[in-house]
């Protein structure tokens, strides 16, 4: 009896090991101007360097906050200009800029281009929502968290690309 139980227990543990879950609370943190933003690591597929020559800007009806579409290993995905989305001036993107490729809940991939990323770290999420001020798009902020006593805005991926 005992042996059987042990076997079963072992099997279950072996099969249900899921390494995405192991860093469920980890966030990728990046800084734009003076503000820190965070994206859940589990929704990120990869980080790549920006290559100007792979970017296509001439896409019919391209919204202003999308920099263009980019051919990444034969999948062509839209790249969101995060600064433009926050109503800031265009960023000066070069080969050192980083594209964070994410996948939303509809399994649609898109990239978010930022000048640099800081770190990956767990943060404490709070339920606080940012206040609506002016015409800033607060839909894309899911909550406000904290890291080392500093404020971090956690992004809602699903609301970024509709």
């Amino acid at each position: 009896m005992n042996e059987e139980k042990n076997n079963n227990g072992y099997d279950e543990e072996f099969f249900s090991f899921d390494f995405i879950n192991s860093n469920k609370n980890s966030f990728l943190i990046f800084k734009v101007e003076n503000e820190r933003y965070a994206i859940k690591v589990e929704s990120i597929t990869e980080l790549i360097r920006f290559e100007e020559e792979k970017l296509i800007r001439e896409v019919p009806n391209l919204p202003e906050y999308i920099l263009g579409v980019m051919n990444i290993r034969t999948t062509v995905i839209p790249i969101i200009d995060f600064r433009k989305m926050l109503n800031m001036t265009y960023g000066n993107y070069n080969k050192f800029s980083i594209i964070i490729i994410v996948q939303n809940s509809e399994k649609i991939q898109f990239g978010i281009i930022v000048e640099d990323v800081e770190t990956i770290s767990p943060i404490e999420e709070t339920d606080t929502k940012p206040p609506k001020i002016g015409n800033i798009n607060t839909d894309i902020i899911e909550s406000i968290g904290e890291i080392n006593g500093q404020m971090v805005l956690v992004l809602n991926i699903d609301n970024m690309f509709k």
Partner: protein, 621 residues
Amino acid sequence: MDIIRNAFLQDLEDYTEEISYIISKANNIIEEDINTIFRIVHSIKASLGILGYKKIADLINTSEDIIKLIKTRKIDKSIKEIIFKTQDIISILKNFITENINENLLLIQIKNKMNEMEEIVKTRPNILLLTFSPEIMKICDPLSYIKILKKNFNLEIIPIKNIPLISELNPIDYYIKWKIISKEKIEKNEIEKVFEFLDKEYYNIESLDVKESKEIKKDIKEEKKEITTKSESLRVSSKDLDLLLDILNEIASTFSHIKRLTNDENIIGIIENSETNLTFFQNLLTKIRLVSLEPLLYKFYKVVDEYSKTAGKLINLKINADISVDKSIFDAIESPINHLIRNAIDHGIEYSEERIKKGKEETGNIEITCSSIENEIVISVKDDGQGIDIQKIEEKAKKLGIKYKKEDVINIIFEPGFTTKDTKTEYSGMGFGLDIVKENLKKIRGSIEVKTEKDKGTEFIIKVPISLFIANSIIFSIGSQKYAIPINYVKKIIKYDKIKRIEKFEGKIDMVKLEDRYYPVVYFDKIFKNIRYQSVIDRSKAYFLLFELEESFMIFVDKVIGQESLFIKNTPGISKIEESITGISIFGGETIFILDIFSVYKKAKTSYNFYNINNLETFII
């Protein structure tokens, strides 16, 4: 856990195929097949046990018992229904595994199926066919025997009229056959006892559903051998193949990148050699993706069987499809074929009595034939029913105010407005939903035609491209971006220099004169934001592409690059930005947008410079 689940799922796929094969043999099911099904049910039960679904496994036990029960009996029609139900259970399980349905819900679903199965076994009717010889009337009145039968047994006795034309009719002959249906098990000998005093040559009793001839067994065995040799192939996940193709495309784009960077002729030579190999590789990969179509169509036996039963008609289905297609094609044509079959059963094939009156066989026929011609797959769904009444269509079209040409009357059945609610009652929904079939086929670059002859039958011919991913396309550029449109939509390519006259219609729409007709021109920079033409000043290198959809129009493009077979990839991200881009293709290392010409047309129509397109006829000079 996922590994076991996937393995189970793959097994289920195999079982579905095996069962579909058995169903395809229609009336030639032999004992061996029942053993196969028994084995399948048994292994499903075992797998469910391993996965920890004890309750479901117990339930499946019932089904095992039922099949065991059938094994001991003679093979009859009920086995076919049991096989159908087994197939249903497998598809329920498949859904359960892939979509993670609640276990309790699954239990209820399976329990229902089990109950249905038990019901079938219980109410299995025993059918005997009683025929008298034509001379019987000289000896006695056959009706008296029927009366005796009715008195002594609990039977349902139905006459089957088989009366010939009056010119061939001999008034003293007897033509009526009798169908004897018993809900309980009944032995032939018992019935024969009633006829004890009648000479054997005057009557014949045969049971309708017993089939176990040794000859059939032989045939099947030979067929089986063939199947086993066929299945000596490798199972590859289609996702892996897609990935392989992606990587291949990436290599191709790297090559062209290197070619652009270097001037060294040697290097260019080497790369061009490798590129030929790559194309070969690419073609091979696309070929590997193809699957044999016929087994996939076997599921329609079930559709016909079930649907003809509810319609109360006798129908026989023939399938002839010895070709290989991209799996995606089957997924796309499945519902149109289903629709056409249902139409044929509902409106095409007549009731048995009517068919006999017309001098046709009692059983109606539906035939699905698939063949591949050049870059297209041609699927014909043909019935030998009553045909489409063209006069009725004409009347209806007049009533609905649909314009049509005389020689084109039949195609009205594909018009969207053709069936309205009142038509449905008047002509029992004639042509119902065919517009949807046509629309859906259009989406995959397919088409549909119909041929019909009164009382001979109707044939629907569907044409679809050989692969949904590969399209022979015209590539052109607007600004610095390249676009492609499948070649079958492009009617003509006209160089700008060749155009003699361009007029302005209402001061807004450019109209191009070509062969005594004027066509409106669509400029992409007017219907889309973020597009600039290169040839604003110097138009000498520009082209017009002519399209003939519901209305004809032209698209102005900067340059026509050529014609190429493109491998199309779906990119939901980009289609979300602009719906007229249905996919992309990597060609020569560059990204090409595949345009959906129908969306472009819609955009152009609603946009300001295209609103008066319907008045075009008035503009012809």
